[in-house]
């Protein structure tokens, strides 16, 4: 999954978010990359997009888990 993928959108009317509606933010991705792969989000994205993890199957499982969080980088 490329970072650029899955970013197509069909915007609808936006709403003012209430204070009780917390939003998942990119810090969650940063913590996951650090915990599971001991790297920053920036390094993870570069390695994910370059195919680095395909050459390192021992990391593939953890990398796939971290990649699930990539949509958190989408601009809101």
């Amino acid at each position: 999954m490329k970072l650029e993928s899955n970013m197509s959108s069909a915007p609808v009317a936006s709403h003012k978010r209430s204070s009780s509606e917390g939003v998942a933010d990119p810090d969650i991705l940063e913590r996951a990359a650090q915990r599971y792969l001991q790297m920053s989000t920036k390094e993870f994205v570069e390695k994910w997009n370059s195919g680095f993890f395909k050459q390192h199957p021992e990391l593939a499982h953890k990398a796939a888990d971290v990649a699930l969080l990539l949509p958190l980088l989408s601009a809101r």
Binding site: P11, H15, E21, I28, A64, D65, L68, P71, S74, R76
Partner: protein, 176 residues
């Protein structure tokens, strides 16, 4: 889960999951998209959450979802595109994890269970590599499993009632 607006649909999706998570931990579930249709979005715990009465076990929850139009029932609803419900040890080793990722790069597109190295099982073909086939697993089933089999102490006296109620909702609205 249907809603009259995208935001309402997301809340109808998020709230039952949060209530179920609250049965076994103090973790907070967050989503990153309340408004945009057809975009792959994320629901996740903000941090790994120690399980009540079993602080040595940490719960990890991630779902990917999309808000879609559903004129017949919604007119909007949320559809799940991925789930991962896992329990880890304190030192970051996965004990087990229920996964389903039909659209990812993995050739494994059926719902499955991973047995992790955190179990202490010394068979590398099993730990993390093997994909044990399962049916689609509801989060509520994982919560019940944790309580029944891992002696996690439920925070809510009415956890059973709540779990049954939200599972019925899931069954009613799931698309497969």
């Amino acid at each position: 889960m249907p809603g009259k607006t995208p935001r309402e649909a997301v809340k109808a999706y998020l709230d039952p999951l949060q209530k179920n998570a609250a049965i076994v931990c103090k973790g907070v579930l967050r989503v990153n998209n309340y408004d945009i249709l057809d975009e792959v979005s994320v629901l996740t715990l903000t941090d790994l959450a120690p399980l009540s009465g079993r602080a040595d076990l940490l719960l990890s929850v991630v779902q990917q979802y999309k808000i879609i139009r559903d004129p017949q029932n919604g007119p909007y609803r949320v559809t799940t595109r991925y789930y991962k419900y896992a329990v880890e040890s304190e030192n970051g080793l996965e004990i087990f994890g229920y996964h389903w990722h039909p659209e990812g790069s993995s050739p494994v597109v059926f719902p499955h269970l991973h047995i992790g190295s955190g179990t202490g099982i010394g068979r590398p073909e099993l730990t993390c590599k093997a994909h044990f086939p399962t049916g689609r697993v509801a989060f509520e089933e994982v919560i019940k499993f944790l309580i029944d089999e891992f002696n996690v102490q439920p925070d809510r006296a009415l956890w059973q009632e709540l779990s049954d109620k939200t599972k019925a909702l899931f069954t009613k609205h799931k698309s497969w």
